[in-house]
């Protein structure tokens, strides 16, 4: 990256901000990509990917809570840091300065609402099938990234639905071990096609 590049350069995988840390600044991606991941019980769920022009870290500035997720570079990335105080002072004097951030946040809320309604319509694998669906691909819940990738790739294909198996291990085992047949028939009843589990032990 040349002499004229503004911001800080991060190597692939380097953490830009960490979940749980105090949020005293926000960031704008200048070049490259960054991953937003949520860490829980030693596991990571990838929430989204950011690219040039995307702002992140603004939530902690508004709600004064610790960082809600970790952001790290995906490949080499360059990120500009924005001071919290200067930003808030500017917004205090002229609230229209926050317009673009508000717009980004509302887009994010919209995306999340869509996601929530999708999940609510499909509480388990059972209700997820519909008459037109021929195949349901079920991925184990630790494969959230793959699931998102596949559902995006297969979005235009009405015959296939990609879903995440959100049941915890114990329940899944019981379901599979004790009443395998009933489970299969249940599902068959609503889906005329097949349910394919991927990558399950």
């Amino acid at each position: 990256m040349g002499e004229g590049a503004l911001g800080t350069e991060y190597r692939d995988g380097e953490v830009i901000c960490r979940q749980g840390d105090p949020g005293d600044r926000m960031y704008v991606v200048q070049a490259g990509r960054a991953l937003v991941v949520y860490e829980a019980n030693g596991r990571e769920i990838q929430l989204t990917e950011l690219s040039a022009g995307d702002v992140f870290g603004e939530m902690a500035i508004f709600d004064r809570k610790p960082r809600s997720a970790t952001v790290r570079a995906k490949g080499p990335a360059r990120v500009l840091t924005l001071d919290k105080r200067a930003f808030l002072r500017g917004v205090h004097e002229d609230p229209s300065l926050a317009y673009r951030i508000l717009r980004e946040m509302s887009q994010r809320v919209r995306r999340l609402s869509e996601e929530v309604s999708r999940l609510k319509q499909s509480p388990g694998v059972r209700a997820m099938t519909s008459d037109e669906r021929r195949y349901v691909l079920v991925l184990p819940h630790e494969q959230a990234g793959l699931c998102e990738l596949l559902s995006r790739a297969l979005a235009q294909e009405p015959a296939i639905e990609v879903v995440l198996d959100r049941r915890v291990g114990e329940r899944r085992q019981r379901a599979e071990g004790q009443t395998p047949d009933r489970r299969r028939t249940d599902r068959r009843r609503s889906a005329q096609g097949a349910t394919i589990h991927i990558g399950q032990r």
Binding site: E3, G4, A5, L6, L80, T81, D83, F87, D94, S96
Partner: protein
């Protein structure tokens, strides 16, 4: 009192397509879109910013301040590396005796050094775009029309401002003045009947020294070089490294040839260059005027002034002041109205706050002149900042005061009050006294080699 507002199809003339004019057009059109208003905006700008040399350049140091880089990023305007010649993360303070590098706590490159126009007269290959062309393009992308004309005649038609061109006249609902202080633009506003005092200006000096990229990187790095020299009338002197040019800027009261010569001959300046190099004026040099006192009244019904032809920040961040005034005027015009009363209610406050802040700026630069003349005090400044740089976790009171002062990152008022902090004063007094009791005092304390 009748309300005068912009309606669907209203027409706006922006006279001058420097940063202030381009920003104003950009924000007029951005806000209009948010308010579902369709506006027609013409920018009158005779310069071709792609041309090298003075014909394509609004002469300046070419520093885009830290605060402006951040503000623009929040707006979604990202200065691409094709226009930023060098990103800056630190500065080096030079006195006759010593040099000190000061880093920001964040150590991030947040200041942009760039060319305003098509580059210096002796540029070899036009490999970049200047800031003014970039901003004008941004306004055009938003829908503004650029008319390559120098406006020399204006008037009124049915209570609306008019731009009079050869054989034709264009009537507008709002006229934005953005002519800077290096033209006869002010006469236009007088002709429109704006009964105000024009900005107070003084002559400055800029030159571009051609050097290869590698030498610049080795000797100047990614730092802005600031000189605290005890030269009369010189308030501020800086060398700003760019791609393969160094921009030298001298600001103060009527900078003349003698002062320029003394500056280049000073040991502090010579020390920065490679051994044997005799620094002197480059092929491209100019003496632009700078605004050092605001126009007294920047608006009337359907007319508003933005950028340098109204108010700017003393010696610092002029492009940032152009952005702030242009944005505030555009916001007033779109969301409130274009009468004098609207500008008085929604634009005047920001304008006055910049002007008022400059009063503190004058006090600070006056104090700095005094400090430069008293060697123990100047050494006290350097020692205090040096100690802060050496200790990782020390409070960086002096470093931050200096940083904000030379980069324009904070209002002068804030800097002024920070220097009144008892802890700052105590430390400064201590460091200066230490200088007197060791070597400096014996050499009489006060230097005078002006």
């Amino acid at each position: 009192m009748g309300r005068i507002t912009l309606e669907d199809g209203s027409r706006v003339a922006v006279i001058g397509g420097g940063p202030a004019g381009s920003f104003c057009a950009y924000f007029l059109l951005t806000f209009a879109e948010r308010a579902d208003l369709s506006l027609h905006v013409d920018i009158y700008e005779p310069r071709d910013f792609r041309k090298p040399g003075p014909a394509g350049c609004n002469m300046c140091g070419g520093i885009v301040s830290e605060s402006l880089v951040q503000a623009l990023a929040v707006e979604g305007i990202h200065l691409p590396s094709s226009i930023v010649q060098r990103s800056i993360d630190s500065y080096v303070l030079h006195t006759d005796d010593e040099s000190l590098r000061i880093e920001t706590p964040l150590r991030e490159k947040r200041i942009a050094a760039l060319h305003r126009g098509g580059g210096p007269r002796d540029v070899k290959a036009l490999a970049w775009r200047g800031l003014d062309a970039y901003l004008l393009d941004l306004a055009q992308e938003r829908g503004a029309k650029v008319r390559p004309i120098r406006v020399s005649e204006v008037g009124w038609e049915d209570g609306r401002p008019q731009v009079r061109l050869d054989g034709a006249a264009e009537t507008y609902d709002l006229l934005v003045g953005a002519t800077g202080v290096n033209s006869t633009g002010w006469q236009l506003f007088e002709r429109l009947g704006l009964g105000a005092r024009s900005p107070e200006t003084t002559k400055t000096y800029v030159t571009e020294i051609s050097l290869d990229d590698e030498t610049i990187t080795r000797h100047f790095g990614s730092s802005m070089h600031v000189f605290l020299l005890e030269l009369p009338r010189l308030d501020c002197a800086a060398i700003i490294p760019k791609g393969n040019f160094l921009t030298v800027c001298l600001l103060g009261k009527d900078i003349d040839r003698e002062l320029i010569r003394t500056f280049f001959a000073s040991p502090a300046v010579r020390r920065c260059f490679p051994p044997g190099w005799d620094p002197s004026e480059g092929a491209c040099h100019c003496s632009p005027k700078i605004n050092v006192g605001e126009a007294t009244r920047p608006f009337m019904d359907r007319v508003v002034l933005v950028g340098d032809c109204g108010v700017t920040r003393l010696y610092k961040d002029g492009i940032g002041a152009s952005y702030r005034t242009a944005r505030a005027a555009a916001r007033t015009a779109v969301f409130s109205g274009v009468s004098a009363a609207d500008f008085d209610r929604h634009y005047w406050r920001l304008y006055r706050s910049i002007a008022r802040d400059n009063r503190y700026g004058h006090v600070i630069f006056g104090t700095l002149h005094g400090v430069k003349r008293m060697r123990p005090l100047l050494r006290g400044v350097m020692k205090m900042a040096g100690a802060e740089q050496a200790a990782a976790r020390a409070a960086r009171r002096m470093s931050i005061v200096l940083w904000d002062m030379f980069t324009g990152s904070a209002p002068y008022r804030e800097i002024f009050f920070r220097t009144l902090d008892p802890r700052f004063l105590a430390r400064f007094a201590w460091e200066s006294a230490a200088v007197v009791t060791s070597d400096g005092g014996r050499r009489n304390g006060v230097t005078g080699h002006g």
